[in-house]
C-alpha cells in the first residue's frame, strides 16, 4: 500500500521530470535517453496497474525497438552531440502557451469528469485491481485469436497488413533507387 504510493511518487516524478527534460534538452541523443526513462516509467505504471503483459510489451517494443530506431536515425543523421536547440522565443512562447493551456484544460476536464461522481470513479487502486480479473496470458491469447465480441483477431490481422505496408513504404522511401 504505502509501497505502492512511494513507487507511484517516484515514477510519477521521474516521468514528469524526464518528460520535460526530453523536450528541453539541447542534445538530441539525450532527449532520446530521457524519453527512454519516461517510457520505462510508463511501463512501471503499467505493471503497477496490473497489466504486466502490456508493461512488458512497452519495454520490449518501445524501449527496445523504437528507441533503437531513434538512436540509429540520430546517428545516421547527426553527429552524436548534435545540437537540438529549440527555436526562437516566439515559437517557445507559443509552445509554452499551447502546452500550458492544453494541459491545464485537460486537467480541468479530467478533474471535473462525471465519472468522479460515481463510486467506481473514485475507487482506489487496490479496489480497482480487486474489481477485475487477473489478466492472464491465456486470456490475452484467446482475445487475440478470437472472433467474438471483445476478441481481436480482426484487428490483429489488420495491423499486420498495416505493418507490412509500412515496411513497404519505408523501404520504398528509404532505398536509394
Amino acid at each position: 500500500m504505502v509501497g505502492n504510493i512511494i513507487l507511484y511518487f517516484v515514477v510519477a516524478l521521474a516521468i514528469v521530470i524526464f518528460s520535460i527534460m526530453a523536450v528541453t534538452t539541447k542534445k538530441i541523443l539525450r532527449a532520446a535517453t530521457y524519453l527512454l526513462f519516461v517510457l520505462i516509467g510508463v511501463a512501471i505504471f503499467y505493471f503497477q496497474l496490473g497489466y504486466e503483459f502490456l508493461g512488458a510489451i512497452q519495454v520490449a517494443v518501445y524501449a527496445g525497438g523504437i528507441m533503437v530506431l531513434f538512436v540509429f536515425a540520430i546517428l545516421l543523421t547527426h553527429k552524436p552531440n548534435a545540437n537540438a536547440a529549440p527555436l526562437g522565443s516566439h515559437r517557445k512562447i507559443a509552445g509554452i502557451l499551447a502546452s500550458v493551456i492544453g494541459g491545464g484544460l485537460l486537467l480541468w476536464a479530467l478533474f471535473t469528469m462525471p465519472m468522479l461522481e460515481t463510486s467506481e470513479g473514485v475507487r482506489s487502486l487496490s479496489d480497482a485491481i480487486a474489481g477485475g480479473p487477473d489478466i492472464s496470458m491465456k486470456m490475452i491469447g484467446r482475445a487475440f485469436t478470437g472472433t467474438e465480441k471483445y476478441q481481436y483477431l480482426l484487428p490483429f490481422e489488420a495491423v499486420s497488413v498495416l505493418l507490412l505496408a509500412c515496411i513497404i513504404g519505408g523501404v520504398t522511401v528509404a532505398r536509394k533507387r
Binding site: 515559437r91 507559443a94 499551447a98 493551456i101 492544453g102 484544460l105
Partner: protein, 648 residues
Amino acid sequence: MGVTLPILILALPFFMFLLLGIGGVKMSRKVAGILGILGMGTTMTLAYIVAFTYFFSGDPAFILDGVRQQFQVFDVTWLAFTEKLVVKIGFLLDPICAMMLVVITTISFMVHLYSWGYMEGERGFQRYYAFLSLFTFSMLGLVVATNIFQMYIFWELVGVSSFLLIGFFYRLPSAVSASKKAFIVTRFADLGFLLGILTLTYFTDTFNFVDMTSNPMNVLAETGGATFMGASVLTWAMVLIFTGGMGKSAMLPLHIWLPDAMEGPTPVSALIHAATMVVAGVYLVARMFPVYCVVDASMTFVTVVGAITAFYAAVVACTQIDIKRVLAFSTISQIAFMMVSLGVASTGGVGDGHHYTGLGYMAGMFHLFTHAMFKALLFLGAGALIHAVHSNDYTKMGGLRKYMPITHWTFLIGCLAIAGIPPFSGFFSKDEMLAAMFNNNWIWGAWMTMVAGLTAFYMFRLYYLIFWWEENPDYAHHKPHDAPWQMSVPLIFLAAVSCVAGFIPFGELVTWNGAPYHIHLEAPVACTSIIVALAAIALATKMYMKKNDLPTKFKNALPGLWTAAHRRFYWDEIYLFITHKIIFGCISKPIAWFDRHVIDATMDGFAKVTQKVSFAIRGMQSGNVQAYVLWYFFGALALAFITWICLL
C-alpha cells in the same frame, strides 16, 4: 351610316403612310407625291361625305328633335385593362368631330398639294409624304376618339408625327434639337394628361366620352368628394388632363416648343403647328366640356392660363424677326383665345338657363375653324415668301407686294381675317368669343379685346415689313417671284374660305349640347373690337408702312421690355437651366456617378475586401509545419471552447 366610310377615313392615310414609308424608297418622287395627294384627296372627299351626312342628312341617329346626337359609328375593344376599364378604338361622330374632320382633311389636302411644289427637290420627299399621312391619320384618330384613352393614344401619335416632321431636315442640328424639344415638352405635358386620365377613370371606371359627358354630375358623385391638397380630386384630374392640352396647344408655360417647331418645313407648320395639332388641347377641353363645367375651379384655370398666354404671346409676337415665329406666337395667342372662350363658357353653372352658357363653346369652336383656315393661309403664304427669298427673316424681305401679287393678296386677306376686320371670317368668330367673355366678366372681355388689338398690330407690322417697308437690295440678284401653281392654288382656296367662312351658320351646327344656337351680332362688342383693331392697324401703318425710325425709337424708349419680349421673356433660358443644369447636372450626373462610384463600387468592394482578406490571412500558411501543428492544436482547443460557450 355604315362603318365603311369612317374606317376608310382612318385606314386610308395609314395605308398611305405604310405604302410611302416602306415602298417610298423604290418610288420616284412624282409617283410618291401623286399617290400622297390622291390618297389625301380621297380621304378629304370621304370626310366631307361623312361630315355632310352627319350635319345635313337629318338622320335621327344624328339629329333628334333638332338636337344633334353623338353617334358611335363603331367601337371595338383594343385592350381591356380590367373588366370595366376597356380601351376601345372607335369613331364618335358629333358636331365638333365632324367639323374637325373637315378642317383636318381640307388643310391636310391643301398642304399635300402645296408641298408638292414647296418640297420639290428636297431629299426624302417620299418620307415627307409618308409622315404627312401618318400625321393625318393620327390627327383623325384623335378627333374621332370615342374615349379618352383612344384620344391619348392618338395624342401620342400626333406628337411623334410632329417630332418626325419638325425634324424632317434632320441634318440641321437646329431642326434636331427643335424636334426633340417639341417631343419632350409635349411628352412632359402628356404625363399630366396620363395622370389625369388615371385619376379620372379611377373614379368613373370608364374611358368613354359619352358615358362621362352625358352625366357629368355622376362623375362628380363617383369621386365621392375625395379631395387632395384642398382641391377636389375631380378638379385635379381635370387640371391634369388640361395639362396635356397645355402641352399640345402650347399654353404658358409649356409653349416653348412651338416657336422652335418652326424649324420644320413650312407646310408642316401650317398643317400641324397652326391648324390642327395645336388645337388638340382646345379640342380636348371641348370634348370634356361638360365635365369641366361641373368643376368651376378647373374652368377658371383654363381661362386664366388662356388669358395670360394670349397676352404674353401677342406681346412677344410684336418683337420677333422671323416671320414664322411671329406666326407661331400668333397661333399661341389665338389658341389661348379659344381656351379663354371655352373657359368662360361655363360660368353660371350648368342647366340654370343662363343665356350665355355655351356661347363661348360655340365661339371657340367657330374660331378654331376659321383660325385653322386663315392661319394655314398665312403659314402657306409665309412658305411662299420663304420659298421666294430663302430666308425666314423679314429683314431679308420688304416691298415684296410687287414681285409676288398672289401671295400679297392672300396674305393680306389672312391678316385682315386674323385682325378681326369684317367681313372676313376672323371677325365673326372673334366677335362671338369676345361677347362670351364680356358676358362672363368684363375683365376678360377687356383684356382679350386688348389682345385682339395687339393681334391686329403685330399682324400688320408683319404684313408691312414684308410687303412694304423697303425693298431688299438682294432682289437684284435673285428676283423673287410668285410660287408655282401647286402652291398658289391652296393659297387662293384658303383665302377664299377665309373670306366666306364667317357666314357659315356655325351655331346651327356646332354647340356644346347639340341644340342649335342662334348667332346674333353683339353690336357693342363688335364695334369696340373693330375700332380697336382699326386703331392697331393704323398704328402699324404709321410705324411700318414706309421705312422710318419710329420702330427704332420705340425700341430705344423701352429697351428692357423690348429685349425681354424679343427673347420671349427668357422662357427658353429657364428651360435650358432646368434641363441641363438641374436634370442633367444635378440629378442625372450625380445618379450616374453614384451608380458607378457607390453602388457599383460597393459590389466591387465586396470582391476587393475578399481579396484583401485572402491576402491578409495568407500568413496562416507560413510553410512551417510546426506552425501548422500549433494552428491545429489551438484550433482544436478553440473548437472545444466554442462548444463550451455554446452549451453554457
